[in-house]
């Protein structure tokens, strides 16, 4: 295993981790407020398609990212309306959002499938970093974002109230907090981040669009949230793990290793199920208390 290959793997892992980490961080916020969003996949798809389309039209990938973020936020507010104001079951509502995302993204991206775009510009860190660090701004933003999210969750009034709502909305209400308002804010932010995650995939990593290109990353992000025990910094580790797995199996496919590409493609999903299996039990202890009803019982 050469040093080159290792650096290549690591930098690939980081690059592929980014589209997973954005929605995961958003979902950390959402789940800390007590909401499980199975529609992340739909949000990401719309983000990817819209970012690609807008970039193709305007020539600026940053407009694409912006459009994707806004679209994600607004769409998720629709989901939020269902689960917060209408008290609709969270899992089913998330699935509705997923379907919407499937359809909307396909329509948005239809005309642009073979378009060539200029992706997000990449920047190298000076010195030794040049070998490893050659990414677009969205990747560089991830670490400060995760750090900032940690700080907001644990060091500000807003974060404290958010966590209280996710643990016990009734007690939070007794403390004068409006759980609905807090949850709407969380939902909007999660939508923003999911949209950015999708955008990064299409205009930052692959520079293409195809139907369903996120291939389940939205669900893997949810597993990531459980794996990281709802902690923004630990989510980075999990995302790197998955990013690494994706890159690893792509590498194996490219090298023509004897294993069928089909089995290699299964790797992320099987890994996700294993992760849920191993960390699921422990995760239940660490989960925001009000989520338990969503996952295992009467909501």
């Amino acid at each position: 295993m050469s040093w080159d290959w290792l650096t290549w793997l690591t930098s690939g892992a980081i690059l592929y981790a980014a589209p997973l980490l954005y929605p995961a961080l958003g979902e950390v916020i959402e789940q800390r407020a007590g909401i499980v969003n199975l529609g992340l996949e739909g949000l990401m798809l719309v983000g990817a398609a819209l970012a690609f389309a807008v970039t193709a039209e305007t020539g600026s990938p940053w407009f694409g990212v912006l459009a994707a973020a806004l679209a994600g936020g607004v769409m998720n507010l629709g989901f939020g309306y269902l689960v917060i104001s209408r008290r609709a079951p969270q899992l089913a509502s998330g699935l509705a959002l997923m379907f919407l995302g499937f359809g909307l993204s396909a329509m948005l991206g239809k005309g642009y499938i073979n378009a060539l775009i200029r992706g997000l510009p990449r920047y190298q860190l000076p010195g030794w970093g040049a070998i490893l660090f050659n990414y677009d701004l969205l990747v560089y933003l991830l670490f400060p974002l995760a750090l900032g999210l940690w700080w907001v969750l644990f060091r500000t009034r807003w974060g404290l109230r958010l966590r209280a709502v996710g643990e016990d909305p009734i007690t939070a209400f007794a403390a004068g907090i409006s759980p609905a308002w807090v949850r709407y804010q969380a939902v909007f932010l999660a939508g923003l981040l999911a949209g950015i995650g999708g955008a990064h995939l299409s205009v930052g990593v692959t520079l293409t669009w195809s139907e369903g290109m996120t291939a389940g990353r939205g669900f893997i992000a949810i597993a990531l949230v459980i794996f990281s025990r709802w902690h923004p910094l630990r989510a980075i580790v999990g995302a790197l793990l998955f990013g690494g797995a994706v890159v690893f199996q792509l590498q194996l496919q490219a090298r023509g290793v004897g294993i069928s590409p089909f089995f290699l493609d299964m790797l992320p999903y099987v890994l996700t199920i294993l992760v849920l299996l191993i960390w699921g039990r422990a995760g239940r202890q660490a989960a925001p208390a009000s989520l338990g009803r969503v996952y295992y019982g009467t909501e």
Binding site: T156, L160, A164, I170, A175, P288
Partner: protein, 513 residues
């Protein structure tokens, strides 16, 4: 004991408070006042109306009639928010704490003015100051789930203090404390009192009330039975105010109890359970129910009755001891096996514990003995038979009929109870475990249930009757056991004891070794 400062008028006065809930008058023209720097105890049995009264004071409920005065000023509380603004704070029996957050975070949540960026050090300092001043030792950084119940209670108190409350309402604070923790709480209360705080202290435990209060108000069945100062209060006076003279139940046992050699239907030998959360663990419970007798279990709710029922039914495992049903070792039996052996169960909360809310009354009825109604190996259900069984069970119990094809959740609580009773008592069973079976029923229905229990006894079944109605227990039991803190602290034939003695045992007035 400090004398209450009656000069200067009460800090809080409630006059003529009346509050009705469906089917019951919780507070009936109640008047109650609290002075600064005093500990005022509200004493009474379960259901006496104490909790409702203080919840009205805290703005949780609106009274149907009556007035509230704070410092001489008439007020209307539309929510606890209003009450908190008038410096009234309450510690509920179910703590409003978030276990996953730290002590500091829990307190911060309830602080009236919290800055957008938290300053944990400042809050920690305030916590430490109050800690030292009143003896509420707390580590701000500990997550609440690691704290014992006594420590959590201190956090709740701290929340009130730091939010600026001067009138502190404590709802059954000693219910969940160990004896030495109770001492600690009393010394905290004494210090607070010295600083001019007023404390309203709800309890049903005589000794504690006598140990720490300046004044005692006794409630019974929604009314104020009497109000005494500490000097005037004695155990006897308080007990008689609490329980009054119960009219004997209209249903009585007939015929002698079975001789001791009769085969027991249920035997619990030295049964203990592990403590978990807020549940009361059983400690070395010995209990025998023979066929043809009714064994009553008296006790204030929360002293282990639920755990006792769960162990008998097989839902909870005992960590020690053995359980025998009809002579066979049933310690490891599943609930299905227990039921099949002939145990019928009337739960405390029928809708939550024994019924499927979305299914119809008829379907719920069938759940009691599904296999009996199945034909052709289960392919078809004999619904007419179910209907017939339901109607005949209800009429045998002299209960009013029930609509059978509506979802059971649309019925009133009493009706749900009746369906469960009809279902359970119509089974072929040898042991009936009945939890508060007449709670929520009108007098006629209650008496018919009692008549059924008596008939079951005559038919040779064993009945374990858990109830909070002492009159009912006295008239229906062959033997009466008293539970306190997970132990059986006394067992008598009703003829050999008095209401007062049992009341004492129930409230821990006499500490039993």
């Amino acid at each position: 004991m400090h004398k209450s400062q009656t000069e200067g008028g009460p800090v809080v006065a409630l006059r003529g408070i009346t509050k009705r809930f469906p089917g019951v008058v919780a507070n009936d023209h109640v008047s109650f006042s609290v002075y600064p720097g005093e500990v005022h105890a509200l004493l009474g049995e379960n259901g006496a109306g104490k909790s409702t009264l203080v919840k009205i004071l805290y703005g949780f409920y609106l009274p149907d009639s009556g007035e509230i005065f704070v410092r001489g000023r008439r007020v209307r509380f539309r929510s606890p928010h209003d009450a908190r603004r008038d410096e009234i704070g309450m510690v509920f029996q179910e703590f409003t704490l978030i276990p996953a957050l730290t002590v500091l975070e829990n307190i911060a949540l309830f602080l009236p003015r919290l800055p957008a960026v938290l300053n944990p050090r400042k809050i920690a300092r305030r916590i430490e100051q109050a800690s030292h001043r009143y003896g509420l030792e707390l580590d701000p950084e500990t997550p609440v789930w690691q704290l014992s119940i006594g420590q959590r209670q201190r956090v709740e108190l701290m929340k009130l203090l730091l939010a600026g409350s001067r009138i502190l309402i404590l709802d059954e604070p000693t219910k969940v404390l160990a004896p030495h923790e109770v001492e600690g709480l009393f010394s905290v209360m004494a210090r607070l009192k010295g600083d001019g705080y007023s404390i309203v202290f709800i309890s049903h435990k005589l000794r504690e009330v006598l140990a720490c209060s300046d004044r005692i108000t006794v409630m019974r069945r929604g009314k104020v039975a009497g109000s005494l100062s500490r000097d005037e209060a004695t155990e006897e006076r308080l007990i008689s105010l609490m329980f009054g003279t119960q009219p004997p139940g209209e249903v009585r046992l007939e015929g002698p109890p079975p001789p001791p050699e009769t085969t027991p239907v249920l035997e619990l030998k030295n049964v203990s359970t592990r403590a978990s959360g807020m549940a009361t663990p059983l400690r070395g419970v010995d209990l025998v129910v023979r066929s043809g007798e009714i064994v009553g279990v008296a006790g204030v709710a929360g002293n282990g009755q639920k755990e006792l029922g769960d162990v008998v039914l097989g839902i909870q495992r005992c960590s020690e001891g053995r359980k025998l049903i009809l002579g066979k070792d049933a310690t490891g039996w599943s609930p299905a096996q227990v039921r099949e052996a002939g145990v019928a169960f009337i739960p405390e909360d029928p809708l939550a514990m024994a019924a499927a809310p979305g299914l119809t009354v008829l379907e719920n009825m069938a759940l009691g003995a599904i296999d009996r109604y199945a034909r052709w190996g289960g392919l078809v259900m004999e619904w007419p038979q179910v209907e017939q069984d339901l109607t005949s069970a209800l009429s045998r119990l002299e209960l009013p009929p029930l609509p059978s094809r509506v979802p059971i959740r649309t019925l009133s609580g009493g009706s749900q109870q009746r369906m469960v009773i009809a279902r359970e008592l119509s089974r072929d069973c040898r042991l009936v475990v009945a939890f508060y079976p007449t709670r929520g029923l009108d007098v006629l229905s209650a008496n018919s249930v009692r008549r059924y229990l008596v008939a079951a006894r005559e038919a040779g079944k064993g009945v374990l009757l858990i109830s909070e109605d002492l009159g009912e227990l006295f008239s229906l039991s062959d033997r009466l056991a008293v539970m306190y803190r997970g132990q059986v602290v006394g067992e008598f034939a009703p003829a050999d004891t008095t209401l007062e003695a049992v009341g004492r045992l129930m409230t821990g007035a006499v500490v039993h070794g």
